[in-house]
């Protein structure tokens, strides 16, 4: 099912910078950066599967709804109620498992960009089959097969009429199911959401430099050392912090549902001026994402100590 793409987008290094170096480094970064397309650029949606995928990605802006959802992974299951959009301007989620009066948890509007579908179909192969009835709605089964080994596969049952993703299962590289959700019931509102009332406003989709093939930097918070990459569908967050003093170098990972957490202790730079204590202080890189292990490792590779490191 999974296929490796013989060649990918060419990627370029990225420099993470001190805020006070922003102006200087921006000059160095932008001219050679991998901003491959403008945000408005579109692509050829030349088959029904791509068209339905595009409709599904746009659905949150065309539909208002309330529903009940079952979410499952190996570690357990949860029953949810969801509302989109709530009067507050966000989506609202309530976990119904154990609380008599569950807390309302907000969730934001997803990104809304014509560019996104183009990125997704560059790294996934969408195919279409007839789907089951989910929450009383006839669906079409959209299968997203990754073109390479750097992402997971998804099977999505999409409402044939509205484009809403009514059920979705994510599979690991071996084909085993990692997590799934499915609507038990859904009610659509008669009118579409007013995008002007969404708060916060939908996030911009401005994918930047390619860090790992198919994964683009979508946000960076240098102050807190958090970097986020996405292929348009899967997301990974990279966190960097000092390695504990005296801690050995190494790596480890766990997986919960579809979310892999990978940590790596790596050596930091060493200069002639550094003393023995500081030389032992490396970096701890943590990658969280709905990605295979190899992708997490490659993302950790992308965070490198500066030149001169051990």
């Amino acid at each position: 099912m999974r296929r490796w793409l013989a060649s990918q987008n060419k990627t370029n290094p990225l420099v993470l910078y001190r805020p006070n170096l922003l102006a200087l480094l921006a000059v160095l970064i932008v001219p050679g950066s991998g901003f491959a397309q403008s945000p408005s650029q579109t692509c050829d949606l030349d088959n029904p599967a791509k068209q339905l995928l595009n409709k599904m990605l746009q659905a949150p802006y065309a539909l208002a709804f309330e529903g009940t959802v079952l979410y499952e992974r190996a570690q357990g299951r949860q029953f949810l109620t969801v509302t989109w959009p709530h009067a507050s301007g966000t989506g609202v989620l309530r976990r119904m498992n154990a609380e008599a009066d569950p807390t309302a948890e907000p969730w934001p509007a997803p990104i809304d960009s014509p560019r996104r579908i183009c990125d997704v179909i560059q790294v996934y192969i969408p195919t279409l089959d007839s789907g089951p009835v989910v929450a009383g709605r006839q669906t079409q089964r959209l299968t997203l097969r990754p073109r390479d080994t750097l992402r997971l596969a998804h099977r999505i049952d999409v409402d044939a009429e509205t484009g809403m993703a009514l059920a979705m299962a994510t599979a690991g590289p071996e084909g085993q199911m990692l997590e799934r959700y499915e609507y038990a019931a859904i009610d659509y509102a008669e009118t579409a959401p007013d995008s002007g009332t969404l708060s916060p406003a939908p996030a911009a989709y401005l994918p930047g430099r390619s860090v790992v093939p198919g994964y683009f930097l979508v946000s960076q918070d240098a102050d807190n050392a958090v970097f986020v990459v996405s292929d348009g569908l899967a997301t990974a967050s990279i966190f960097v912090e000092p390695l504990p003093a005296g801690a050995p170098l190494g790596e480890g990972a766990i997986i919960e549902g579809a979310t892999l957490t990978y940590t790596r202790g790596t050596a930091a730079a060493r200069t002639a001026e550094s003393d023995a204590r500081s030389a032992d202080r490396g970096l701890l890189i943590s990658v969280l994402g709905e990605v295979p292990l190899v992708t997490a490792r490659l993302l950790a590779d992308a965070v490198r100590p500066p030149a001169g490191s051990r």
């Binding site: 093939p213 766990i254 202080r281 970096l283 190899v294 001169g308």
Partner: protein, 205 residues
């Protein structure tokens, strides 16, 4: 595991697009598990770009001094693996994040042919479902290089697994905010977060 002449020859052939399917799999697997080989590939890629008069990837900026200054300026607060974000920020703003030039220099993803599936071993992960490490990655957690006079490798592996579990609990809420923006059902990203109310407790049952 060390880089062998065979690896280097295969890497060269890969750069030239001359690898057959099986050898391509093996080489990609070796690249996945061998940091030296990955680094060599990146260097070869840069050289190739230069020779072909292509745009050379932006060079890493040497900010070693800044990193070391950050490290030396900060007190060693604790050996506890959980630190303040402020210290993390002071250090990590000075690292270099490089693109993964793991593949040949073709610029179009869609125009390239596909090859057959790539196999790999099933990786046991304690307390969770198994996953398969793509590109032949062998196992996790694994110790890459213990520090001098460090604990035994199994202790290191256990420590990193604990770190991974801790970071999952601590950082997943932040990751959820980012992941929600791309997921077809954005709330699923929040439901995954383990620290949210009673849901987490029920999952421990």
């Amino acid at each position: 595991m060390t880089t062998t002449d065979r690896d280097l020859e295969a890497l060269s052939a890969l750069m030239d697009g001359e690898l057959q399917d099986l050898e391509l799999r093996r080489t990609l697997g070796r690249v996945s598990e061998d940091a030296d080989l990955r680094a060599r590939w990146q260097r070869l890629q840069r050289v190739s770009e230069t020779l072909q008069s292509k745009r050379v990837s932006a060079p890493a900026i040497d900010v070693s001094l800044s990193v070391m200054q950050s490290l030396e300026d900060k007190p060693n607060l604790s050996r506890n693996p959980i630190w303040s974000a402020a210290i993390a920020a002071s250090v990590t703003i000075a690292v270099v994040m490089g693109g993964q030039q793991l593949l040949s220099s073709s610029t179009s993803v869609t125009s390239t042919p596909l090859i057959s599936d790539i196999g790999g071993g099933v990786v046991p992960v304690m307390g969770a479902q198994p996953i398969q490490a793509s590109l032949g990655a062998k196992s996790i957690p694994v110790t890459t290089r213990p520090a001098q006079d460090s604990a035994m490798p199994e202790d290191v592996a256990a420590m990193y697994e604990r770190l991974a579990r801790d970071r999952y609990r601590r950082l997943n809420p932040r990751h959820a905010q980012a992941a929600a923006l791309s997921h077809p059902a954005p709330y699923i990203s929040y439901v995954r977060a383990p620290n949210a109310s009673m849901a987490s407790e029920s999952e421990q049952d």
